[in-house]
């Protein structure tokens, strides 16, 4: 369960050594767009050496490799593959590429005796990928889908705007597919790092559509993203009341009951339970809260 995924350029030592203090739930070390073609070798070597120093980083580690349609992607994996990596973020993902990546991971995991299954986060950033979302979301190893709105709108030859009307369809499609196959829906980054209000509005809108995390391109976006994807005290209090009232209602075999004049039925109780699960995950519930 993650709220924020921070992209960090793979060839930037200053950002690498501060990765643990930014407050991201997950960090995506980027070998693709953030690294120039002449520095790919340097970035791979740096990430390899950096990963070898980590033991308990306090955030989940992902690497965005180059697309598998070039030879760069395979070299990226062969260099950086390490037990500490949670997953590979695959740009320009298609069903075919994800299957190919999964086979590559089988090979490297076996050769390097990596016990855990490295997950894949495909970036949905082509019209073809949007078309294939339903298939992509249920492929083995796929743990989340990440919307890449900049490349997607370029592929669609449409304007990318701050209000995001042009990406409503892929946002909704990703949210539904992720919910259906119980994986995370990660929203596209908000690219104006100076516009805090815009980030807040964009994040809230994405959340309202069913996204449960957002990617960030600057550490200063993390506070807003983490805050907006964290249950508030008021929401937690209300959810606790609903769950408690449900327990009382069950004792007298009532499936539907009223709380403060509002009807409470199974979907409302389940929503409250999910919110409390999230609150529990982020350490917001004390032992006494749930009694």
């Amino acid at each position: 369960m993650h709220r924020s995924y921070l992209f960090i350029p793979g060839n930037n030592p200053a950002m690498l050594q501060n990765a643990d203090i930014f407050g991201a739930d997950a960090v995506i070390f980027d070998l693709e767009d953030a690294v120039s073609i002449t520095e790919k070798d340097s970035a791979r070597q740096l990430l390899k050496a950096y990963f070898e120093t980590l033991s308990n980083p306090g955030f989940s580690i992902y690497v965005r490799i180059n697309a598998l349609t070039s030879s760069l992607g395979v070299i990226d994996i062969s260099m950086v593959m390490n037990e500490i990596i949670e997953g590979i973020v695959l740009p320009k993902a298609t069903v075919q590429d994800i299957k190919m990546l999964s086979k590559l991971l089988d090979t490297f995991e076996s050769a390097r005796r990596i016990k855990k299954k490295t997950v894949i986060i495909p970036i949905i950033e082509t019209a073809k990928a949007v078309f294939e979302i339903g298939q992509i979301a249920q492929l083995p190893r796929v743990s989340a889908l990440l919307l890449g709105a900049e490349d997607l709108t370029r592929d669609m030859e449409i304007e990318r705007t701050k209000n995001g009307l042009e990406i409503q369809y892929p946002r909704a499609k990703i949210a539904f597919a992720c919910k259906a196959f119980e994986i995370e829906a990660i929203d596209t980054p908000f690219t104006d790092v100076t516009d805090e209000e815009g980030l807040e509005a964009d994040t809230l809108f994405a959340k309202s559509m069913g996204m449960n995390a957002k990617s960030a391109i600057h550490p200063n976006q993390l506070e807003t993203i983490n805050r907006l994807f964290t249950p508030t005290d008021a929401q937690i209090t209300e959810a606790l009341r609903v769950v408690k009232a449900d327990k009382e209602a069950q004792k007298v075999h009532r499936g539907v009951f009223s709380l403060d004049g509002k009807m409470i039925d199974k979907p409302v109780v389940e929503r409250a339970e999910k919110l409390l699960e999230k609150a529990r995950h982020y350490g917001l519930l004390g032992d006494t809260d749930e009694k």
Binding site: P13, Q17, D41, S42, Q45, L46, A49, Y50, E52
Partner: protein, 86 residues
Amino acid sequence: MKIGIAGSLESNDCLVTIKESKEFSIKVQSIVDVFYHDQIVELITSVLEDMNIKNVEVTLIDKGALNYTIKARLLTALHRMEANHA
């Protein structure tokens, strides 16, 4: 002449230049020279020994890089030097 360069002069990074040379030498210029000069030289020596590389001249300008950054930049410079040769 075979030569490989890697890294940058940005903060927390280092710039490594490695050249083929008849004599082995390591030159280090660091913003933390007073405290870490010997340690950096030792690290470079250790990486080169591991790779059995002797006839090189290494120049490292350090802007506060951590050990893994120095090691990574040195290895990249070495690979680039070898690639230039090939």
